[in-house]
């Protein structure tokens, strides 16, 4: 194993005509990893917060997500109940242990039945809370952890994602900056999902169809 590893690395060095101990090269690599320069960041996302949210919504709808805006997190259960009714779906959803969802009063009105924990593939509707949104492409950012099962993002027919307007940034670079601030440099959650619209495929005669293996529809609720 290490023999193969060393042979490959030696071949790389020999063909590049370089040495692995060259200080200049090592410094260049360390510097890039430490600084993580941003490069070219599109101007389109560089907006004030209100316009940023508007762009996020427009971009998400442009890729066939549906969206709605509610005043605060407390309004989410009613919005979800309403959404389920509009689409003739049973009043039942699965969520993770995330307090931003689990802590809400789901019994309001007629009440939505709430299941908790990872999905085994039998759920019609799952609700997740996004860590952030990205305006430039209408992308949701979901991170895994004890409170946020990744299966909820892929197994249901309908995925409802709640995102706090205050966490919608202009670009992907903002996401990385915030993650580093939260977890430390060079550390990632097990899974970070960028989700841009519902699942689709154009593999049969190039006809674009929604709902390949992931959710057939994606509904985004922006809070705040």
């Amino acid at each position: 194993m290490t023999a193969t590893r060393d042979a490959i690395l030696n071949r790389v060095r020999r063909n590049l005509g370089v040495s692995g101990t060259d200080v200049t090269r090592r410094a260049a690599v360390a510097d890039r990893i430490t600084r993580a320069p941003a490069g070219v960041v599109p101007a389109r996302g560089q907006l004030d917060p209100a316009d940023r949210v508007a762009l996020f919504v427009a971009k998400a709808e442009g890729v066939q997500a549906t969206t709605e805006r509610v005043a605060s997190a407390a309004d989410v259960p009613a919005a979800v109940a309403d959404f389920l009714r509009r689409h003739n779906l049973p009043q039942r959803v699965r969520i993770g242990a995330d307090p931003r969802l689990a802590g809400l009063d789901w019994a309001v009105g007629a009440g939505v039945e709430v299941l908790s924990g990872p999905s085994d593939g039998s759920d019609l509707v799952c609700v997740s809370h996004a860590a952030a949104g990205v305006a430039e492409t209408g992308t949701l950012v979901l991170t895994s952890g004890p409170d946020n099962p990744t299966t909820l993002n892929f197994l249901p027919d309908v995925h409802v994602v709640v995102v706090d307007a205050g966490t919608i940034g202009g670009d992907y670079e903002t996401v990385w900056r915030d993650l580093r601030a939260r977890l430390g440099k060079g550390v990632m959650p097990r899974t970070v999902n960028f989700v841009t619209g519902p699942s689709r495929s154009a593999d049969i005669e190039q006809t674009l169809l929604l709902g390949a293996h992931g959710p057939r529809s994606l509904h985004v609720i922006v809070t705040g």
């Binding site: 194993m1 193969t4 590893r5 042979a7 490959i8 690395l9 790389v12 063909n15 590049l16 260049a28 690599v29 890039r32 993580a36 320069p37 941003a38 490069g39 070219v40 599109p42 101007a43 890729v63 924990g117 990872p118 085994d120 593939g121 492409t137 992308t139 895994s144 952890g145 004890p146 099962p149 990744t150 299966t151 892929f154 992907y172 670079e173 990385w176 060079g186 990632m188 959650p189 097990r190 899974t191 970070v192 999902n193 960028f194 841009t196 619209g197 699942s199 689709r200 495929s201 154009a202 593999d203 049969i204 005669e205 190039q206 169809l209 709902g211 390949a212 293996h213 992931g214 959710p215």
Partner: protein, 476 residues
């Protein structure tokens, strides 16, 4: 199914047959119509697109020059996150490593996200021969797996298959299917595949994916898909195996983000693919789902040998498919004619480096040198130049048939005498332009049947490149 049989040595015959197949020609029409327009739109909608192409190129060039060090940094981070890195010198070694992981996991079936590396090393055939059943889950890959074929396009593997053929295949394999069930439309076919594959996702013991990027900063593997199959492949089974070649290394999350901005736009014309997933190690303490083991198989298979040669540029390739989507030769003959797993201009450059010039040496001739591939390649890979390198090498090896050698010599005679060259091409272009004005293409040309027998010659636009260039310079 066995590993893909290489038919690249009979490229000419393949191409000839392809051009006589009406269904294939119809399918290729779809490629030409859809991809080109969508990419152009996406590029036009992002003012920074060209600057991002430069940035993407520079990131990869820098990474390749420091590849040994980034590989070491990446390996360290994967290990820190609780994952395992396995190094494989060639296809055989990689296949054995994957089989070994499957055996240790007691796996009978493995699900697979779409991976060109898996196609390159013939992983499915190898696993099957050793008692492990691989199930492709990308819809296009699933279809060609049922048909026992290689992909004909790197991002749309079943682009050559029509819906009637998909229906026939599903009816043959999904034996529980009610014969009365209507499967005449893509929607019903998709629903059938979704139902069938859902069972497989849930039953698999090991999930195998490729990677679009391996990030040195964090030890993260990244997959980009539209269907969500890659994610179900990697979160449901107990073991996740990533197979990726060395050049997938990217320094940081920011660098990957630069390249992501040109990837989907160049590939399908989307601004972003639906799912871009960053995976780091196995599931963490307290995580309710995710794989318990995380393995990365780092494959060389000829990459290190390309470093320091004129083919180093090719290692920047991000497998977006834009070069084939814009290639008149690919449009005319489809992907299978190239005879292995990588078609189009990128395949014409890559195939001889990976399977040898003896077998793949014909492919670099499959070019009209129109330059469209290079003009759309997000990584600015000089594909025509690289194809020319192969031609030169082949010429040196005297593998080229005598007629081709003669015409190359004639071309060289004129090319080294610029004034004569300009005169000769102006005369020739004027004549060809007049003759070909109707369709824009020649199916045959007098005195050049060796060329047009297997290629359509694009009709020159009535002026030479040099004359056009001079005109533009004057206008500027």
């Amino acid at each position: 199914m066995t590993a893909h049989v290489i038919t690249s040595p009979r490229f000419k015959e393949n191409a000839h047959e392809a051009m006589l197949s009406p269904p294939l020609q119809k399918a290729m029409g779809n490629v030409e119509r859809n991809f080109i327009e969508r990419r152009a739109q996406a590029a036009a909608n992002l003012p920074e697109f060209e600057a991002l192409r430069d940035a993407a190129r520079d990131i990869k060039t820098h990474t390749l020059k420091h590849l040994d060090l980034y590989l070491e940094a990446y390996e360290r981070k994967v290990t820190e996150a609780g994952g395992h890195v396995h190094w494989a010198a060639d296809a055989d070694a990689a296949n054995k490593i994957v089989l070994d992981i499957c055996r240790k996991a007691g796996a009978r079936t493995v699900t697979k996200g779409k991976s060109m590396i898996s196609e390159e090393i013939g992983l499915n055939g190898f696993l099957e021969a050793n008692g492990v059943t691989p199930v492709e889950t990308d819809l296009g890959e699933y279809i060609i797996q049922l048909r026992g074929e290689a992909p004909s396009h790197i991002i749309a593997p079943a682009v050559h298959v029509n819906k009637e053929e998909v229906e026939a295949e599903f009816r043959r394999v999904h034996t529980h299917l009610d014969p009365k069930r209507d499967l005449s439309e893509p929607t019903s076919l998709l629903a059938e595949a979704r139902g069938e594959l859902r069972q497989k996702f849930l039953a698999a013991d090991v999930g195998i994916t490729g990677a679009n990027f391996l990030i040195a900063e964090t030890g993260t593997s990244v997959i980009v898909t539209n269907e969500g199959n890659g994610d179900l492949t990697q979160i449901l089974p107990r073991v996740h195996v990533v197979i990726a070649s060395l050049e997938k290394i990217t320094p940081t999350l920011e660098d990957a983000s630069q390249i992501l901005r040109v990837l989907a736009r160049s590939a399908t014309g989307q601004e972003m693919s639906v799912y871009t997933t960053f995976s780091t190690g196995p599931r963490r303490p307290g995580d309710p789902d995710g794989p318990e083991e995380y393995h990365v198989v780092l494959l060389d298979n000829g990459r290190s040998a390309m470093l320091g040669t004129e083919f180093e540029d090719m290692l920047r390739c991000i497998r977006c498919g834009a070069c084939m989507n814009h290639c008149p030769v690919y449009h005319a003959i489809g992907g299978h004619a190239y005879g292995w797993v990588y078609p189009g201009p990128m395949g014409a450059v890559l195939t001889p480096t990976l399977i040898g010039v003896e077998k793949g040496g014909h492919l670099p001739n499959a070019s009209t040198f129109c330059g469209r591939c290079e003009s759309v390649c997000p990584m600015r890979i000089p594909l025509p130049k690289l194809m020319r390198h192969w031609r030169e090498r082949e010429f040196e090896r005297h593998l080229t048939p005598p007629t081709a050698r003669w015409s190359l010599k004639t071309w060289a005679f004129f090319a080294t005498r610029p004034r004569l060259y300009r005169l000769a091409t102006r005369v020739a272009m004027g004549t060809l332009g007049m003759l070909g004005r109707g369709s824009g293409r020649f199916r045959s040309l007098p005195l050049a049947s060796g060329w047009t027998k297997y290629r359509d010659m694009p009709a020159p636009q009535g002026s030479t490149f040099q004359a056009e260039w001079a005109k533009r310079r004057r206008a500027a």
